[in-house]
Symmetry: C2
């Protein structure tokens, strides 16, 4: 399968890496505006602008949500154009052969992702194109899930909740540790257990703590201990939400 990969941000770099490691795939060109080289160390030609790319079947976009429409507009009408964004509908791609290839993962700078452990959500306007996307996923060793734009948008929301919001909780906890001369390392075992519990318990059955047991004394003590108004809001919102879930 011959691919032109457009984009070299956090996701683009990881997709590049996964594709060049695959035996079945070939990147013909890579659109990477921030590169000063004309080809990668694997010999893939680098171009700066969309206007410089060849006419080829599969264009894989790893670009910002806002750019998807514009880039799709500038590509050949007969091409198969595929975006990789969780929160963007298939209909943003103007080509008849439109697709989505969304790896459900958190991509950070300088951290390589193992695609064999990353589910990829696929969707296509034309039914037969779905097999191409499934093969693409298989070639980078990912498991593949077929879903519509509505489901994918909800899944993207869920991913923001479990990744960005959880990570923010870690940041708040790290700041509490720092202020009190405690190592954040102390919290890593309980964080690990929070995740590992999911293997045997549902999140509902795994819940514990002062909010669940309506321990007002501890809740009030915690609210007094908290210095940051934002963290106090978070504490209150969670305490109420945990209690309400338990009523149901």
């Amino acid at each position: 399968m011959k691919i032109i990969l457009i984009g070299a941000g956090k996701l683009g770099k990881q997709l590049y890496r996964a594709i060049v490691l695959s035996n079945d795939l070939e990147i013909i060109q890579w659109v990477n505006r921030s590169s000063k080289k004309t080809k990668t160390s694997e010999g893939v030609p680098i171009v700066e602008e969309i206007g410089d790319i060849k006419n080829i079947e599969l264009y894989l976009l790893a670009v910002s949500d806002e750019s998807i429409g514009t880039i799709s507009n500038s590509l050949p009408k007969e091409a198969f154009v595929v975006h990789s964004a969780g929160g963007i509908s298939l209909s943003e791609i103007i080509q008849k052969r439109a697709g989505v290839f969304y790896p459900l993962q958190s991509f950070s700078k300088d951290r390589n992702i193992d695609f064999s452990k990353t589910p990829v959500c696929v969707e296509s306007k034309i039914k037969t194109d779905l097999d191409i996307l499934k093969n693409l996923a298989k070639s980078i060793k990912s498991s593949v899930f077929d879903m519509n734009s509505k489901q994918r948008e909800q899944l993207h929301l869920a991913a923001v909740i479990v990744n960005n919001f959880t990570n923010h909780l870690f940041l708040e906890a790290a700041e509490i540790c720092k202020k009190n001369s405690l190592s954040f390392e102390l919290l890593k075992p309980i964080i690990k257990e929070t995740f590992e519990k999911l293997e045997t318990l549902s999140p509902k059955d795994a819940q514990t703590g002062p909010a669940l047991r309506r321990d007002k004394k501890t809740i009030n003590k915690h609210l007094k201990l908290i210095e940051s108004p934002d963290l106090r809001s978070i504490y209150k919102v969670f305490t109420l939400a945990i209690q309400k879930k338990n009523e149901k």
Copy 2:
């Protein structure tokens, strides 16, 4: 070291298990009000009431926060009495020989905890008792950290944040999946990565997503997708908090 263990809740059961597995420790009696047996399968005598226990040096309390004061009051004045609560001050124990032995972990029903991967926070009124608590921790293979009640209370708050609140986010995400006929399994790789990232990135550097990049379009779309008012509050509070942390 001879111990009377008081309490057979989630923490009490795990402490019982860790202590009987240790070669250096011996449980003389176990106060377990919910047991119908008079001894455990390991031959440890079970008693129902505090009044039935022997006079011995070390009493280890794994009881609810509210009971610590009352139980301490009913124990011999010369004894060494140790509670295991994160959020309770050392001063709740009336004995001169007061101690705290707080395993920083999330204890769930029917889930065995590996104490070799659980840090234990210790504190004592009399300096020489600290070594006893450190030895107790070593005997169950835990790493041990010496801290005062103020630090421990803050650490307990941080533990509630990273465990209870994170778990609530998982519950919200699981409900989104269920409503949209998606498997929660899809989210497990990104949840795992959220945690594993901490090994190489600080929570601040690990942050990504629509809130951080002030992507109003996605944020508004998510707020529209959310059906539950509680989840909407959580989403708004986090979006603001993530943005504020990034301003600093």
